[in-house]
Chain length 262, copies 2
């Protein structure tokens, strides 16, 4: 299953421009699954609710989702991509899953980072979707630091955890190796690059380093910190179905939830 990441620098607020850039790149590819960064159509650093209100979209049916649906139909791939969602008077830092047949589902980020709490509401569930070639779970950025996020997806059967991110700190990529090992799943972490300087004295430098890790914790590739790149990798999803760590140890059956604090 050809799985790809497109790491680039969205321009803040320039949705049309970002969408055109994404489309231009993805039209040239031949893959099964593409993962794009968090908030990849709008940029990250909002400075007012009004700004977010102007940029966020109702899902499904929004121009972005429609545009991506056409792209998925044309190219025959599945897409996971982060965008700002509006639902009535609520806003979510979301990611959509879209396939050749159109819109499939939305994940709303559960664990919000720093000022995201000003603008967004927290999501309240983790989902796994069966797209036949694989079972897809989605988590977004800061969800990585809570082991319960990836665990919740893996326990629901996720084989590939798609992980759109806007990382500014250096810890996540190595931690995602642990997430892959402890759940025996593929993790696909799609980060952005570039700098946003929209808040005085708080410039954000996004750290790239997008990567795919296999169920045994092998990092299949890791992109540079500053490079724009479309990187694909042929992964064997069946590897994520083997939950046997040794002949006598199973990553799930060896758990003992009765003795765990939660």
């Amino acid at each position: 299953m050809k799985t790809a990441i497109y790491q680039f620098a969205p321009a803040f607020g320039a949705k049309e421009k970002n969408l055109q850039k994404i489309e231009k790149t993805l039209l040239q590819t031949d893959v099964d699954l593409v993962v794009l960064p968090e908030l990849c159509t709008t940029g990250y650093q909002f400075t007012s609710q009004k700004e977010l209100d102007d940029l966020a979209e109702s899902i499904p049916g929004s121009p972005t989702v429609e545009s991506w649906s056409q792209l998925c139909q044309k190219k025959g791939f599945h897409l996971v991509a982060g965008l700002a969602e509006k639902d009535g008077d609520q806003f979510f830092n979301s990611a959509v899953l879209i396939g050749p047949e159109g819109y499939i589902g939305t994940y709303r980020k559960v664990h919000l980072f720093l000022d995201e709490k000003k603008w967004f509401q927290s999501g309240c569930s983790f989902h796994v979707w069966d797209i036949e070639k694989a079972k897809i779970g989605i988590m977004i950025c800061f969800d990585w630091i809570f082991p319960e996020a990836a665990r919740s997806l893996a326990l629901q059967g996720a084989e590939i955890i798609c992980h759109p991110v806007n990382l500014v700190l250096p810890y996540c990529q190595d931690a995602m190796i642990t997430r892959s090992i402890e759940n025996r799943v593929f993790t696909v972490t799609a980060n952005r690059i570039g700098i946003e300087e929209r808040v005085k004295d708080n410039p954000l430098t996004f750290t790239g380093g997008s990567q795919i890790v296999d169920p045994k914790g092998q990092r299949l590739f890791r992109l540079g910190a500053k490079v724009e790149a479309f990187q694909e990798m042929d992964i064997h999803v069946t590897k994520a179905r083997d939950k046997q760590i040794t002949a006598k140890n199973h990553i799930f059956y060896d758990r003992n939830p009765k003795v765990y604090q939660s």
Copy 2:
């Protein structure tokens, strides 16, 4: 708080010899807390229940615990060390916590690895002990791959997770960085070195690499794969009490157990 690891190669079945070696080394030290490897008085690779029965001890009150209690009293430190426990007709891969006032408590390994399942029963709880200078949690070796183990200890207030191990695979040490970060605790992983060739065609090479990681994921030291060493580090336990990741993010309060699968 001076925290130390003694990494060495226990000789299989030679309890007296191993205890003397440990005592000789620890008598020369001046620290607050020492962590020794898993099953450090007996060795690891049992070949029969009879063999284990001959080497395992009832806790407390056993010769090993008595000997270590005297050592702790003499030196004024706390000790966490792995040993084989017998309780009636049940056996556990355990670790004891002993202080200057004597025996404090036992942790029985919850997640057993491979052939350990032949010899040992699983433990059924995670404990945290307040020794005034710090709150101590214990987990053993393979517990590392289940994020619920360290999480259970951290949620009970553990500031230092003492982690006696007999590692033969290379994944654990990096994963323990994730365990420290996701719980903002110190992790003290004490591995052994050496080779055991007690089962035909299944020699075990223990991989050393004992380490301490701080609550922000900084590895304070990592010992070599083959070196016998006593290594101490002055750690500031208060760092493990700061659970604030950012001004608006708390490692525990940001959790949302209602939405987690368990």
